[in-house]
Structure formats: C-alpha cells, structure tokens
Amino acid sequence: MTSRSLTRRGFLRWTAAAVPAVGLGTRGQPTAATNLPARADAGDVLSGESIDLVIRKHKIDIGGREATATLINGSLPGPLVRLREGATVTIRVANELEETTSIHWHGLLVPYDMDGVPGVSFPGIDPGQTFTYRFTLRQSGTYWYHSHSGNQEQTGVYGPLIIEPSERDPIAFDREHVVMLSDWTFEDPKRVIARLKKLANYYNFNQLTVGDFFRDVREKGWGATLSDRLMWGGMRMDPTDIADVTGYGYTYLVNGMTPDQNWTALFEAGERVRLRFINAGAMTHFDVRIPGLEMTLVEADGQHVEPVVVEEFRIAPAETYDMVVQPPAAQAYTIFAETMDRSGYAAGSLAPRPGPRGPMPHRRQPSRRTMADMGMVPSTGMDHG
C-alpha cells in the first residue's frame, strides 16, 4: 500500500503511523483524572494556536488509479485540525490554485467574515493570496472544513476538524478514529454537471423496465401496478431516482481509500473505540453499519446526545456522527458504508492489526421512493399537477 500524500516534505497522513493505510488512532482520555490525551500517531495532525494550510492541485493515486485533485497540504482528506474549546486560533490559508478558493468551517460558530463563503461573507481567497482566519472556539465536537468555491470540495478540498472540550469530555472512550466518508469522481465535476443538464437520469442504471412492470403485476396485481405507474407518470417523477450521480460515476472512499485499499482502524480487544464519522461527500448519503458490532451514538454534528444504540445509521452529506463501539473480541470487523441508492459502497476495517478484514456483507437491493418519501399522502387527494 502506498503512502497517500505526495508533497515533497513527505507528510504522513494523520491516520498513518509506521504502517500506511492504518489508523492507530489517538488514545482518548484515560480513566484517571488527567485530561491529557496520549498521542499514538504523528500523522498530519495540526493543532495549536497557529496553523498553515496550502491548497494546491496534485496528481494523486486513488485506488491504484491516477487522478488530479485539489488538496489541502497534499493529502486526501486534508490534515486533521485539532483545536481546543476556548482557544483562539489563527489559520492561514494560502491559495496556490489558479482560481479563487475558500475554506469554510462547517458547523462552527464564528464571526461572519471568518465563515469562508465567497460572495456572501468575504470575497474569497484569490490565486496567490493568503487569507488569515482568526476566531475563538466556542464549542467542542467533531466537525469538518472544506472549500466553498467551485467544485473544489468534490475534488478533494476537505478535512476533519476536532475540537476538544474545555471541560472533561462526558464521552468515555479509550481510542478514537476519524472515519471520513466521501465520493470521488475521476472526471471533471463540470462535465458531470453538464451531463446531468442534458440527461437527468444519466447515471441511473436502476430504472423501471418492462420486466419490473410485469413483476409488480405478479406481486401486486394489475390495478395496484397501473395506478402506481400512472401516479408517478402523471407527475413525470421516477421512483428510482434516489441519487443524481451513482456508483456508475463515483468511487466511494473511507479516509481517501477505496474498499480494496481497506483503510483500517486499529484497536485492542475490550477497548471503547470512538469513531468520528464525517460525510464529506458532495451528494452521497451513506448507510453505515459494522456487521457484528452495535454502535452507540453519542454525538451528532458536534452536539452531545442521549446515547442511542444502533446497528445502522444513515449519514447525509456534511453530517457528523460519533459512535462508540466496544468490540468484544480481537477480530476484524468491516466498516461498511453502502450508498443510499445501493449502487456502490465505501468500506474499511476495524481490526486488531492491519491486514485481516472482516466479512464483507451482502449488497442489498435498492428500494423505490414511495409517495410518503415525496411528502404526499395519496388519500388526501392532492393535486399532482
């Protein structure tokens, strides 16, 4: 497995320590009184009061295939920015692209001119310019940061942001990992958009066929099937239209790695592992599960929640969910993030050592949208126009 970053300084990624493609994670607070976390890896983790980010175009290897990406400090995802609640941080962002860029701190409460949205709160960062963000952290939790210009977020300008609480973290854990899910296209996103303008269902290879019609007739009868088709047809809407760009156009990544590359989160048996899931996809919803392991949701979008035990959760673009898992045995588990339209998946492992992977769960059939999904209840006789 090759190292992910390609800058001359040869940064290791924040999830890579001695062995690439593997996250040793950062050890959480020990159960003793001290609040200092012990660091287990020395990857691209930026913290402190002064941080430098550089955005530049790079040639990068994704799943063994060469691609051109716009990256922060040469890695995909960008460096983990680890800050502390209450601290004031200065972040200098240098634009080495040929177009305007920006960095937006997703979910952070900052002064409007530090929010990083060009045309709305600031003029953007021109090519060759460096913009200095300066703000005080007023919250804690798992967040992320990304470009708000053009299609740069889609081509790799994103990274995780963790803000440690100023007081004791109510979440007890022994180790943590950031699991950043994303969608990647090897094509220029402008071409993807252009195609969708010409044929909206370009990427949908799960449309209803004549075969589906007769299958429905066999299962539900002529009346139900015809009225269903007429209802959707009358609105010119497609019940299989769940994702604009599907696995036909996207490759799905976990921390910048394809399922074959198998990004691995290491743990020791009996540890409580905090998985900070972030969906950095441009448009993909993932349904995430770890077969054989229950997850306890403790934080959503950086906000503490009453813990909820789940077997699977759906994460929308830009959401973050912190899950605590406690694997009972020292065996490999698969972190499986199937897309909502079931056309592809991102996958990694949770394992005691790099190499072995857990069983790959079976792929599920896509479902169809129902009238309830459209916010319509047929019996009220709504006008479908």
Binding site: G124, A194, N206, R236
Partner: protein
C-alpha cells in the same frame, strides 16, 4: 413531408404579427416561480455596512463562487439512419436537435434531411428558435424555419411558434405552428415515448403528423391532415451518448396530399426498415 398551405396577400404581415405577439408574451411574463425572492427590508443597508467593514473590497470574488448559472450546450443526433424502403428506395435520413443556453433561456436548432442514395439532399428543414422555460417541463419557442422539399420545389421561410416538452406519462412532445412567407399556415406534432426493456435496450415508438390549413399545389400539399409517420426503434445504449438502433418506419399521406402523390407516381404509403445510430454530446 412538411408543406405549407396556399397563399394569401396578408401572409407576411400576419406572420409578423404572430411573432411580435409571441415575443411580447414571452418577455413580459416571468412566472412567479422563476422570480428571485424579495429581499427583506434593510438588507441593502446591512450589506453596505458589511462591505464597509471588510478589510478588503466588497465581497465580489474573482471567480464566481457558485456554478449554478453556467451556459451549457447540447447536440442530439436523434436519428442518423439508413432507411431501406420496401419499395426498393434506400435513403439516408438525419434528424438533429441542439440547444445552447442556461436553464431558462436557450437558442435551439432543429435540422433534418433525407438523401435518397444516388440523389440530392431532400426534405431539408432547418429551424433556429429562441426558447424559454414557461412551466416545469415545457419550453415555448419562437423562431424561423427554412425548408425545401426537393431541389425542384420552391423553398419556404416560415415563422415558427412551438412548444417543446415532456407531457404527463413521459411523452416527449413537440408541437409547432408554421406561417410561411407566402402566408401558408401549417402545423406539426411529434410524440416520442421510451420503453425500457432493460437498462440499456430501449424501445422508442414515435409519431409525427403534419397538417395544413390551405392547399398548396406548388408544394404538393393538400388541406387538412397531410401525413402520418409512425416509427418503432430499438436502441442499445453502449454508452448513454452512443446507441446504435434498428427499427421500422411507416409513412402514409392522406386526402389531397395523397392525390398529389399519386399524380406524381409516388407511393402513398411506404414502409422501411431503418438502421442507424443515436448520438449526443
């Protein structure tokens, strides 16, 4: 066959009046759903205050931050086929559609023509239109059309008023009204439907009919329904943009148009097997 009706002296003025009315209607009415929302009171002052307080200039970035109003273009070669007629004549037929513009305003190009093997280009029909999205799924188009049925018959220029869109139950619809430079009024309707046999095998039935308000003997057109074309094409999408197809096509002329055909010793009904490719960019 697209032929216009017979002459009237008021022809050109009528055409101009129609076009002006259509353009006025298009430009005067912006549907409510296409208008931007009104800004709340005091927004202007707030924005000015923000702009003033920024250390650099007002927030206008070098590159527009969003790419939601780009201009795109589309060229669809809907039919590029050889027609093997059962009466022995083979012809090459093409039908092209293109647009350039944004989401609401576009310039459209329609072009079609037939070339009987060993003969010249016939039935050429080129339209240049301005189209505007007037309702979800529907464009209203205004423009000009040039057509000539064959080298021996006189060409016509027409004003066009058309509606193009997707009708309920997924019927691709094009309906157009033509008023020629000689005041001949005619109309055309085209309908297409796509049936998916598999994700890549798509069966496309097609219907086209032309009607004329007047009898135009110099163009061999009768009054009323001139003709009806029915086609069934099965394509395989190797890629979305490239799909070879095979199909059948049936054309029939009616009424006076059929009489004209008989007089010219041309068939009233023709069947052909068609083989072609559908591409788009």
């Amino acid at each position: 066959m697209r032929r216009a009706g017979e002459t009237g002296r008021r022809g050109p003025r009528v055409a101009l009046a129609w076009m002006s009315a259509a353009l006025a209607l298009l430009f005067s009415v912006t549907p409510a759903w296409a208008q931007p929302p009104a800004m709340p009171e005091g927004t202007g002052t707030l924005l000015a205050a923000i702009a003033e307080s920024l250390q650099t200039k007002a927030p206008t970035p070098a590159t527009p931050p969003t790419s939601d109003d780009r201009i795109h273009s589309f060229l669809l070669i809907d039919q590029l086929e050889t027609q093997f007629g059962t009466n022995g004549t083979n012809a090459l037929y093409f039908n092209v559609l293109g647009w350039l513009g944004g989401d609401c305003n576009r310039v459209w190009l329609n072009a079609e023509g037939t070339q009987i093997y060993g003969g010249p280009l016939e039935d050429t029909d080129v339209q240049l239109l301005y189209g505007r999205l007037i309702a979800p799924f529907w464009d209203l188009q205004v423009g000009v059309r040039y057509f000539q049925s064959n080298s021996s018959s006189p060409p016509r220029a027409s004003a066009v008023l058309a509606i193009l869109g997707l009708a309920p139950y997924w019927f691709e619809t094009q309906a157009a009204l033509f008023i020629s430079n000689k005041g001949e009024v005619s109309a055309r309707l085209e309908l297409e439907y796509e049936l998916l046999l598999t994700q890549r095998f798509i069966l496309q039935p097609r219907l086209e009919t032309n009607v004329s308000a007047q009898r135009v003997s110099e163009l061999d057109i009768g009054q009323g329904v001139n003709d009806l074309q029915l086609g069934l094409r099965l394509r395989y999408e190797i890629r979305r943009e490239f799909a070879p197809y095979i199909g059948v096509s049936w054309t029939s002329r009616f009424g006076e148009t059929a009489d004209f055909a008989r007089a010219d010793r041309e068939p009233v009904q023709t069947w052909s097997i068609v083989l072609g490719v559908r591409l788009w960019f």
